[in-house]
């Protein structure tokens, strides 16, 4: 199986490591900022431990404020804002597909690359974390298959019972494939269109097979991804006890306390959100490059038969396979660390609860770290390339059109001051770390019978979060490869 995988990877055309679309312009953070952030994260963590150890806490964090019937919301309903956005969502997907098939092959001049990778995958994701799960009603694949269900009786009912053991594993696999294409696939406008077309067909087949509800709950990986991000948003959109949909305001991040992770596969999905970003950062560093190509351990010399640097001409596909294996393994490495520290917490507290149960309960507390690390790594792309969507809308195919008079605007990338970028990275990571530690403490108070045990249980969790935060900061501080 292992050999077959290697042969398959080597046979994929055009998958050599190459320049990818929209590289971030930021420099590694100065070493002293890395040290500052790591020590500050540790210090703030202990302050939080002290806070929880010395004060009584209410469970008032679950308070919500319904606003679905507010006058301004009703006004928006009259303007049919949701329906307009739904039409735009489907049209955007179709435009992405068409522009890649018939438009310019230049990634920077074609609408689909900037829209899909930046506006949607980054911008819409961050908007979801801030504003709630709009994707639940704007998912273009949900809308397209829903349209098909309206036309073809019984299309969305499914033919097979979804095996519960599969849980979120299909979404994990699709997510891994997506990240592989993003980091290692060297996508171009045409290949992106093929990818989107394939995924669209997959959605139709999936809905036909297992039904709309189960497909978009367990398998459509963007739906799973956005649902996780939306747990951190202050706006919650969910049915109330009467079954009608309701909009509520809540404290940011408090949605993470509503319920534990439902299944082990969802935990792996979430850890892949963190590990894939870390992997993306790591593989750009000199350290990562040198592990293989300079081979200080001699391992790759043994495997390849000579020093890797002398095999550069023919061994690059092997390097691709090597990176692919690490990408797939990355969430399981994070899972191993997570599970170890959960087990240590169980041992320290002598809790009768199983490690599995505790692991599921605390899983979502890592999401703030996941989110801030993702933002610090990618947000500058929204400024340097994402804003160019304004021009690309006027010339989606790169044919020299100017449909809306914006084709020649924002030509220069917006590159923020580097000092500002570094500061934002440091403070965002500290914020995410503090929120994660805080949430974990609240969960501990809900899980363990007394405050002493809850505090004890958090010492390993604190170390784990320090490990994840410090690893993220270390990657941000590393010198980067030149080419």
């Amino acid at each position: 199986m292992f050999k077959l995988l290697f042969v398959l990877l080597l046979s994929l055309p055009g998958t050599a490591v190459a320049h990818s679309f929209a590289q971030p312009y930021q420099l590694p953070i100065p070493y002293w900022m890395y040290i500052y952030s790591a020590i500050a994260a540790l210090g703030l963590s202990f302050i939080i431990v002290g806070w929880f150890a010395s004060t009584q806490h209410s469970q008032g964090h679950s308070a919500t404020l319904p606003f679905g019937q507010a006058a301004w919301v009703n006004a928006l309903r009259k303007f049919r804002l949701v329906q307009i956005l739904q039409i735009l969502s489907v049209c955007s997907l179709l435009l992405c597909i068409v522009s890649g098939l018939i438009g310019s092959a230049d990634a920077y001049r074609n609408f689909n690359m900037t829209f899909f990778w930046l506006v949607f995958a980054l911008g819409f994701s961050y908007a979801t974390a801030a504003l709630g799960n709009g994707y639940a009603v704007l998912n273009p694949w949900l809308l397209l298959t829903g349209f098909c269900t309206a036309l073809v009786s019984g299309f969305g009912q499914g033919r097979l019972q979804y095996p519960s053991r599969l849980a979120y594993w299909p979404a994990v696999v699709f997510y891994m494939a997506f990240i592989w294409l993003e980091l290692l696939g060297n996508t171009r406008p045409f290949s992106l269109s093929v990818m989107l077309l394939t995924y669209t067909v997959l959605n139709f087949v999936g809905v036909w097979l297992i039904g709309t509800r189960d497909w978009f709950r367990y398998c459509e990986f963007f739906a799973v991804f956005m649902r996780l991000l939306a747990k951190m948003a202050p706006i919650d959109y969910r049915p109330d006890v009467s079954g009608e949909k309701r909009l509520r305001l809540r404290w940011p991040f408090m949605g993470l306390l509503d319920e534990p992770a439902e299944h082990f596969s969802l935990l792996v999905f979430m850890l892949f959100m963190l590990s894939s970003t870390a992997f993306d950062g790591l593989r750009e560093t000199v350290v990562w490059f040198n592990i293989f190509w300079r081979d200080p351990t001699g391992l790759f010399t043994l495997l390849l038969g000579e020093h890797p640097i002398y095999t550069y001409g023919w061994s690059r596909p092997w390097y691709l396979a090597y990176e692919t294996l690490w990408l797939i393994a990355s969430p399981f490495l994070y899972l191993g660390a997570y599970w170890l520290f959960i087990w240590l917490g169980k041992c320290l507290t002598r809790s009768p609860l199983s490690t599995y149960h505790l692991g599921m309960r605390f899983g979502f507390s890592l999401l703030p770290i996941v989110l801030v690390y993702h933002i610090t790594h990618y947000y500058t792309l929204l400024l340097s390339q994402g804003l160019k969507i304004r021009a690309l809308i006027s010339d989606p195919f790169g044919w020299g059109w100017d449909l809306f008079g914006t084709a020649y605007t924002l030509r220069m990338p917006v590159i923020p001051d580097m000092g500002l970028v570094w500061q934002s990275q440091v403070w965002l990571i500290l914020l995410g770390h503090v929120v994660s530690v805080w949430l974990a403490h609240i969960i501990a108070l809900q899980t363990f019978p007394n405050r002493r045990q809850a505090t004890l249980s958090q010492l390993p969790m604190l170390l784990l979060m320090m490990l994840f935060t410090a690893a993220g900061l270390w990657i941000l501080a590393q010198p980067l490869q030149g080419r």
Binding site: H19, Y25, Q26, G50, R483
Partner: protein, 124 residues
């Protein structure tokens, strides 16, 4: 619960400020003045590339990047969006001031080859 909150917040603020003052390195005088004039050369012959992998400069430096390639194409400095047509076996030069700090790829479109990366560090 509320009465202890300001104490913890003050403690946290003191920690963050104290660490910042203690760890941030003092600003030192530049060894040489800004606005240095630097030149980097690249050669691309029969697929073999010579030239610096990373060009590390300070904001404000005056830069010349020269390329001699046996392929024609467009020499493109990303981020600065400087583009110049490069004809085969004729040197092409980009001359500019490193005004923006950051990390910018130098690419020869045509063969789609990344030549190197320009790292512009902020002036201290």
């Amino acid at each position: 619960m509320l009465s202890k909150a300001p104490i913890f917040l003050i403690f946290a603020a003191l920690l963050l400020i104290g660490l910042w003052l203690g760890i941030k390195p003092p600003q030192t005088a530049l060894e040489s003045s800004a606005n240095r004039q630097l030149q980097f050369q690249y050669q691309l012959q029969a697929g073999h590339l010579t030239g610096p992998t990373i060009m590390s400069v300070q904001q404000g430096d005056q830069l010349e990047i020269l390329l001699l390639s046996d392929n024609s194409g467009n020499l493109h400095l990303h981020g600065y969006e400087l583009i110049k047509m490069a004809n085969a076996d004729i040197p092409v030069q980009l001359t500019f001031t490193a005004e923006k700090a950051g990390r910018f790829e130098l690419e020869l479109h045509g063969p789609d080859k990344i030549l190197g990366t320009l790292e512009v560090y902020p002036s201290p």
